[in-house]
């Protein structure tokens, strides 16, 4: 990281975040700078999804968004689910026609992405018939297909084994200069990210460069370290 003063992409200055009059994150202060890769950690219910949602609202359509797997439409094919990443760029008529017969250009681009993500040969299959790991990769593919500078991901590599997760994170990194990704694997947070934001009980308790942190620091985020196994089924509220 260079030392020159930079303008943040987003900055929160002691703001309350939440929904329906319910404050989830109180008096939050943080800033996201271009070129930063941020890992977002915290137990379920700590406010990770709320923070990502707020970032997404601030950043508008300059951010590629990868929600948890239930953002997919199980009845539609893998191709259509990925195509939805750029739904806004086509006319309604083109979108309708694409349901009847896939458009040539998008079909080619989506096929390339699928190859890269190990989804080759599944493009026509309804997402409802895929395994959990495959669905997660479809969700990532959809975010990559948006081709933005910035990547926002809500647990995009949950329920994927660490090896695969590593590969997918590399793919995301290769295509985006900036990223904020909610994670479970603390080790990955330290090894693959520039910065860590740690949330606990609606407070930002860690905001530090990854190189300054140890696993023990991160353990402090979780009230009971043993419970981290439960986190695999964390569903994080939108």
């Amino acid at each position: 990281m260079g030392g020159e003063p930079r303008r943040p992409l987003v900055a929160f200055e002691a703001e309350d975040l939440g929904y329906d009059n319910q404050v989830v994150l109180s008096r939050l202060a943080l800033a996201l700078y271009p070129g930063e890769r941020v890992a977002l950690l915290g137990p379920s219910g700590a406010g990770k999804s709320t923070l990502l949602e707020a970032l997404r609202r601030r950043l508008g359509d300059s951010a590629a968004w990868c929600p948890q797997q239930h953002g997919l439409v199980p009845q539609l094919a893998v191709y259509h689910n990925i195509y939805m990443g750029r739904l806004a760029e086509h006319s309604a008529l083109a979108n309708l026609w694409n349901l009847v017969r896939p458009l040539a250009g998008p079909w080619r681009q989506v096929a390339e992405l699928c190859d890269a993500l190990g989804l080759a040969g599944l493009m026509r299959r309804p997402v409802g018939q895929l395994s959990g790991g495959q669905r997660q990769r479809v969700a990532i593919a959809r975010a990559l297909y948006q081709q933005q500078e910035l990547f926002l991901g809500d647990e995009p590599v949950a329920s994927i084994d660490p090896h695969q997760a590593l590969r997918l994170l590399a793919l995301i990194e290769a295509r985006h200069a900036t990223a904020v990704i909610a994670l479970h694997y603390r080790e990955l947070a330290l090894s693959h990210f520039d910065r860590v934001w740690g949330l606990r009980d609606g407070q930002l308790v860690i905001d530090a460069p990854a190189r300054d942190l140890t696993l023990a620091d991160l353990d402090g985020l979780y009230p009971d370290a043993d419970s981290s196994a439960d986190e695999a089924i964390d569903r994080g509220q939108p």
Binding site: G60, P67, H70, L72, V73, Q75, G85, A88, A92, L96
Partner: protein
């Protein structure tokens, strides 16, 4: 145990006291039953025929030995029945779907849909009969218009219950149509299709009933044969109707629908020559009291004063609605174990299931008509018909839900299984379903008036016959208002503490 602490046991609860949900529902139901019992003396339940058993025997013989040869072109009537149901449902769908998208946003649309829903198909038919005559247009509109209201509401409910995540996952700036076809329609498709299918089945029954007001569907010959006591012919027609319903899964297959639609289009007819001036006169003058159009308030009051006995008619309608609902509850309670895997043996279950399917696929009006011939024109035949049809419908669904339950304690005897294992789990859903049916039951009570039971429908039918369209239309409005009010009331009273069997296809 120390003998010093001989504590007083917790006081035994009084009769039906306590706040557990079971006891509360029991009190709720008993209040309903008590209300019905108190009001029964006000209902006219006389048996007027001198020889009901002889008549019943004749009917049974007719059903047992149907006279197939005596039927006049039954296939044509059958084809028309299916064609009207198909195209009527399709019309309702095409009108209802756009309305469903506006449903949540527009109070006007919601009110309009509630209104068209509140008037029974047969009353719409009576209304359209005046301008389109005995034609396919009358039949189709009689189905399509109320169904548009129903589709709008149910489709809107289905769309509203969709998970929001796929919609939220879309990039910003996606147009309404694209969002709908990618992130909403695919998710809703299965439920929309299932409901449309169910509505088509309802449409099939309604299409048969259109024969009762003179459109040449299956009901036309059925009514005539029954009324004139030609029970062997009536039996044949009735069997034809049951065959039609029972074979629906085969001929009503998804892939055959376009073919059926095309074939149906050729069968539909005759098409009326629409006289625009007649239509306009009907809509702008005939159905409104002339005093109202002239702005003559005193005349309007006179007009209102001459409307016959509105009080007793409304009273009878509500009374029959209450008795019918309570009767349906009792029938459902009595009948559901018959078709449930936890009781009896395969033979009794088969018979029980057969009985329930038979009762629930026979339209109320037809059952009432049958009891009317048997017992004479009091409230009794209507009550029996409503209780049996709706009770069987609820019992069938409850039995299906019971089949999915595995009792926690094996080896309990039947009564214990019923009272401790199954009923506590099923009863809340059953009661909730009954409250949904209450609206349908009330709508049916009005229509049973056409058979001579002194509900609002009796006077509507009479005034159509006298060609006093203003009075008939006014009474229709009253009926609609009554239905809307009862629907709102039952929504409030409906127990909501438990997960209900809440599938629109079952209401």
């Amino acid at each position: 145990m120390s003998q010093a602490v001989l504590r007083q046991p917790e006081p035994r609860p009084g009769w039906l006291a306590g706040q557990s949900s079971g006891v509360r529902l029991a009190r709720h139901s008993l209040t309903l039953v008590a209300l019905a019992v108190i009001l029964v003396p006000f209902a006219d339940l006389a048996i007027l025929t001198r020889d009901p058993w002889g008549e019943l025997a004749r009917m049974a013989r007719g059903l047992a030995w149907p006279a197939w040869g005596a039927l006049e072109s039954p296939l044509e009537a059958l084809g028309l029945t299916v064609a009207v149901a198909l195209w009527g449902t399709l019309g309702g769908m095409l009108l209802g779907f756009p309305l469903a998208l506006l449903f949540a946003r527009s109070r006007l649309v919601r009110a309009g849909c509630a209104f068209v829903r509140a008037i029974h198909e047969l009353f719409w038919a009576l209304l359209f009969l005046q301008v389109f005559g005995l034609s396919a247009a009358t039949a189709l509109m009689a189905l399509a218009i109320p169904y548009a209201g129903i589709f709008a509401k149910v489709y809107a409910e289905i769309l509203e219950q969709l998970p929001g995540a796929p919609r939220d996952a879309l990039p910003l700036g996606v147009g309404r149509l694209s969002r709908f076809v990618y992130a909403e329609l695919p998710l809703a498709w299965a439920r929309l299709a299932a409901y449309t299918r169910y509505r088509f089945e309802c449409g099939l029954r309604a299409s048969v009933l259109l024969g009762f007001v003179g459109l040449p569907t299956l009901g036309f010959q059925l009514e005539t044969a029954f009324r004139e006591g030609r029970y062997h012919e009536a039996g044949a027609l009735l069997w034809l109707f049951y065959l039609l319903i029972a074979s629906l899964p085969w001929w009503g297959h998804r892939r055959l629908i376009p073919l059926l639609l095309l074939g149906g289009a050729l069968l539909l007819g005759p098409w009326p020559t629409v006289d625009g001036s007649l239509l306009w006169r009907f809509a702008s003058q005939d159905i409104w009291p002339s005093a109202l159009l002239d702005g003559d308030w005193r005349g309007l009051i006179d007009w209102l004063a001459r409307i016959p006995e509105l009080g007793p008619a409304i009273g009878n309608t509500l009374l029959l609605g209450l008795l019918g609902s309570v009767g349906a509850l009792l029938v459902a309670l009595a009948l559901w174990p018959l078709a449930c895997r936890h009781f009896g043996n395969p033979a009794t279950r088969l018979a029980g299931r057969g009985l329930l399917i038979f009762l629930r696929s026979t339209p109320e009006l037809m059952l009432a008509f049958f009891f009317l011939l048997l017992l004479g024109p009091s409230l009794l035949p209507a009550w029996l018909a409503l209780a049996l049809h709706n009770g069987a419908l609820i019992a069938f669904l409850v039995a299906r839900h019971a089949d999915a339950i595995t009792p926690g304690m094996p080896g309990v005897n039947a009564s214990g299984r019923l009272a401790y294992e199954l009923l506590p789990r099923l009863y809340p859903g059953m009661l909730a379903l009954l409250y949904y049916r209450a609206e349908v039951i009330l709508r049916e009570t009005a229509i049973l008036g056409m058979l001579g039971v002194a509900t609002l429908g009796y006077y509507i039918d009479a005034n159509f016959e006298y060609l006093l369209f203003d009075v008939a239309f006014f009474l229709l409005l009253i009926t609609a208002a009554l239905n809307i009010a009862v629907d709102a009331l039952s929504r409030r009273l409906r127990p909501r503490e438990t997960a209900i069997i809440d599938d629109p296809c079952q209401r």
